[in-house]
């Protein structure tokens, strides 16, 4: 078993560890594929071509070929759940598989399930027939016709697609997960909220193992318009080109992703001979919008990071890797405020530059990447905003490093989580 560092955050009996990872994003349908893509310098960001964006040139990091998971879900029900379903099922399946958990290993009521579920939007095709049937000769909506009979053309399962928890419940059905559960919604901090809740439940003994993760929004005309109207993304003609190497003022694109972690108490993981990937050390949360009303404020992000450091009983100098949750200037400034930016600075990685902002799934994807890529030096400079050009290559390999993962919401909320990597062996 790996020796436990003296500065560990919790008493041995309280420690919760990560034993499984799963992720699907624009660079691949598994952790291995994503890592391979990142190392080769690939970007998952491409121009959107599968729907009308109104103006050409809009880009996103879409999952073009989501993995097909064999289920007995009725096709109509599956349709109402959209891409959310395959992203959640595939990432959960990979996480369970990588942790070595078989369906018969635990009582279903002992398996907790927690997820941040990205915003759900209705599908145009669910509503189109109702409006078409209700048009007047002039092409306007005839409300009398709509209310009298047109509405009956609305796809009957439409309301299911409007509930964030339905896909989550379907995954619980598919994997037989009956224990403690909760769905958090829907922005950049939600994935970390899910992990924090899983850790709490495990520590209280309410579950023996827990899955915690997140799913991003499905990129659609509505999600694109929402992001654009919010000021998160700008129309193609207004973009400034490549973002700055330090992450400030970088162009934001939306990303699709499902990502999942398997967590369990260290004692349970050791008993079953699981491969322990990391220990969960601490969390911090805060909420305050900045003066623009668009992002979590610098102070809120500082507060969340300091909260996580405090709970983990670590100082800033003990963090070796920071996984950024956004490309916002506020996050960069908050990190600058807390961490020394000299040669001993932690390596900083902003995957949003090539994988887009995966919002509710983002911090979980970043946790998986931070834990699965052993040699950070192989990561392309494009996603490593620090050390800056001329400061040398990022440090690595880092087998026992401590990783800070941030999740930043565009509604003022932010969360930070620290995990301590292990060498990966327990037996």
């Amino acid at each position: 078993m790996t020796a436990i560092p003296e500065s560990s955050s919790f008493p041995l009996t309280d420690r919760i560890v990560i034993t499984g990872l799963g992720a699907v994003c624009s660079l691949g349908n598994s952790i291995m594929e994503i890592g391979r893509g990142l190392r080769s310098g690939k970007s998952g960001i491409e121009e959107i071509t599968d729907f009308d964006t109104g103006e050409p040139g809009f880009s996103a990091a879409q999952v073009k070929n989501p993995p097909l998971i064999k289920t007995d879900i009725h096709p109509q029900l599956a349709r109402s759940m959209g891409k959310h379903l395959s992203l959640l099922l595939a990432s959960t399946e990979e996480a369970l598989c990588s942790s070595g958990i078989r369906p018969d290993m635990f009582d279903p009521q002992d398996i907790g399930f927690f997820a941040g579920m990205g915003m759900v939007d209705y599908h145009v095709e669910d509503l189109l027939p109702a409006v078409l049937k209700s048009l007047s000769r002039g092409g306007d909506l005839d409300y009398d016709r709509f209310f009298f009979s047109g509405y009956q053309e609305i796809y009957p399962l439409w309301p299911l697609g409007m509930l964030n928890n339905v896909v989550f419940c379907q995954a619980a059905i598919h994997f037989g997960l009956r224990g403690e559960n909760c769905v958090f919604s829907p922005h950049g901090d939600a994935g970390i909220q899910a992990v924090a809740e899983a850790v709490k439940v495990l520590r209280e003994g309410k579950a023996k193992v827990a899955l915690a993760g997140g799913v991003s929004e499905e990129i659609s005309p509505l999600s694109l318009a929402r992001a654009r109207l919010k000021g998160m993304i700008r129309p193609p003609e207004h973009k400034s080109g490549a973002g700055s190497p330090e992450g400030a003022a970088s162009e934001i694109v939306l990303g699709e992703c499902g990502a999942m972690l398997v967590l369990e108490p260290m004692s349970g993981a050791i008993d079953r001979g699981a491969n322990i990937l990391a220990r969960v050390a601490g969390f911090g949360f805060s909420c305050e919008k900045d003066h623009r009303g668009s992002f979590a404020s610098e102070q809120a992000i500082i507060s969340a990071i300091e909260g996580a450091l405090s709970q983990a009983e670590l100082g800033p100098g003990q963090i070796e890797l920071i996984m950024f949750g956004s490309l916002s200037q506020n996050e960069m400034e908050a990190v600058r405020e807390i961490f020394d930016m000299d040669l001993e600075a932690p390596v900083m990685v902003a995957t949003a530059k090539t994988l887009g902002e995966a919002l509710a799934a983002g911090p979980i994807l970043n946790t998986a990447i931070g834990l699965s890529i052993q040699d950070l030096a192989v990561l392309p400079r494009a996603i490593c905003p620090y050390p800056p050009t001329g400061g040398g290559a990022p440090r690595g390999p880092s087998n026992t490093g401590r990783v800070l993962i941030n999740g930043i919401s565009y509604e003022g909320r932010c969360a930070s989580m620290i995990v301590e990597k292990t060498a990966g062996e327990t037996k």
Partner: protein, 421 residues
């Protein structure tokens, strides 16, 4: 963990006191809907909140926030205002240690939105290019739709800069928001949490979805008779709107600041049916597991439970399965323990239900009153517990469960206790 404030706005009351008194008297808040055109729909009733009961935003110069505020959020602002006033939360100085936990699903698009969002191009295709052009569609519409915007606005309005989470587990969301908030305080991540839920689906697109899946009551002699949990002639739930909020904090902190203490949150349990999206588990295993979890979390046994505030939706399936689950955990005692459904008077407020019912349960404990299940006229042999039929009952009780079971199969249960020094 103690409750130092509560507030609510419901179809039967502008605040908790009025809601409780009307519920005690068996007053129904269900009527024909006036908030949108219901002609032609098989269900035309619901529980509306009087517009005059909505609190105006508590700060001036917040027009942007006003525009981002959905009706559900406005209901919640009313409920939270009452709760924080009762808890005297304005006297707490360290606002970084006050958090918000909200169960909510955001506002539905209106029919007008559908037309604006997707202007018909005349070629059997939608023209989405107008979506983001200035003046075509307000971006505020998107933010009223986003549940987490509501939580963030609450944190701004009530100056709460601590943990902030939004829970979207359908009808279990309000109870889960309270359970999660209690956990956050227990872990030391916050000193005080404002927790609860809100919902307003009494608009065409919100309502018609439930019509299409045939979940609503369609056979009723009069609106106030439609919500009839556990009654043999029940035939669906009645959609309502409302909000409920609790202020939670640790006992030590509440005593230290001399806050009023109304009850204890003794335990919380959650579970998933993992059965079918549209059906509850036929043996009630998920519901029973959530109740057992709450009791175990409280460090109690089933023998300690003195009353159950049921989910009791008035659907055929829920009421029968909930009865089965209660029998499963209470065994022989089940028939001796009073069980009642506030939804018989208020209707189903979805994400708000768990929080409103928790508030009413606390008031009932402190007043030694069990609220009734109204419209209980025809016994169902499969629903054979003591449902406190039609009239409130005076009974001292101090340890209770409050059930909330969400669409899709998410279950939550709160174990609440009367505060005894």
């Amino acid at each position: 963990m103690v409750v130092t404030g509560y507030g609510m706005v419901t179809p039967i009351g502008k605040d908790s006191r009025e809601t409780f008194e009307n519920a005690r008297n068996g007053v129904s808040g269900i009527d024909f809907l006036s908030s949108f055109e219901t002609e032609g729909l098989p269900c035309r009733i619901g529980g509306q909140v009087d517009d005059s009961w909505l609190n105006t935003l508590p700060a001036k110069g917040l027009q942007g926030i006003e525009k981002c505020s959905s009706r559900g959020l406005k209901l919640m602002i009313s409920a939270v205002s009452e709760a924080v006033a009762a808890a005297r939360l304005d006297l707490v100085e360290d606002r970084d240690r006050i958090g918000v936990s909200l169960g909510y699903h955001g506002e539905n698009p209106s029919v007008e939105d559908m037309l604006l969002l997707y202007r018909y191009s005349g070629k059997d295709a939608w023209d989405v290019s107008g979506l983001t052009k200035n003046g075509v569609y307000s971006f505020f519409n998107f933010f009223r739709r986003k549940p987490d915007v509501a939580t963030s606005i609450l944190s701004i309005l009530f100056d709460c800069r601590g943990s902030n989470l939004t829970i979207v587990s359908a009808c279990a969301a309000g109870a889960q928001a309270i359970g999660e908030a209690a956990g956050i305080i227990r872990e030391g991540k916050a000193d005080v949490m404002i927790a609860g839920g809100c919902e307003s689906n009494l608009n065409f697109s919100g309502f018609v979805g439930f019509v299409l899946i045939r979940a609503l009551s369609e056979r009723y002699s009069s609106p106030e008779k439609a919500s009839r949990p556990f009654d043999r002639k029940r035939n669906g739930f009645v959609m309502s709107e409302g909000a409920g909020a609790l202020v939670l904090e640790s006992l030590d902190r509440a005593l230290e600041r001399k806050a009023p203490i109304f009850a204890e949150v003794l335990g919380y349990g959650s579970s998933a049916d993992a059965f079918r999206i549209t059906d509850v588990h036929p043996r009630g295993e998920g519901a029973a597991f959530a109740m057992q979890g709450a009791i175990a979390d409280a460090g109690l046994t089933c023998a300690d439970i003195e009353y159950i505030n049921a989910h009791g939706t008035s659907t055929l399936q829920n009421d029968q399965i909930e009865t089965l689950a209660i029998k499963k955990i209470l065994g022989e005692r089940a028939k001796k323990i009073p069980v009642s459904s506030n939804k018989s008077m208020i209707g189903h407020t979805i994400a708000a239900a768990g929080a409103i019912e928790a508030g009413l349960t606390i008031m009932g404990m402190n007043r030694s009153v069990l609220l009734p299940t109204i419209n209980y006229e025809f016994a169902d042999p499969k629903c054979d517990l003591d449902y406190v039929p039609n009239r409130a009952r005076e009974l001292e009780h101090g340890v209770v469960l409050s059930n909330s079971f969400g669409f899709g199969g998410q279950n939550a249960c709160l174990c609440l206790g009367k505060f005894r020094r």
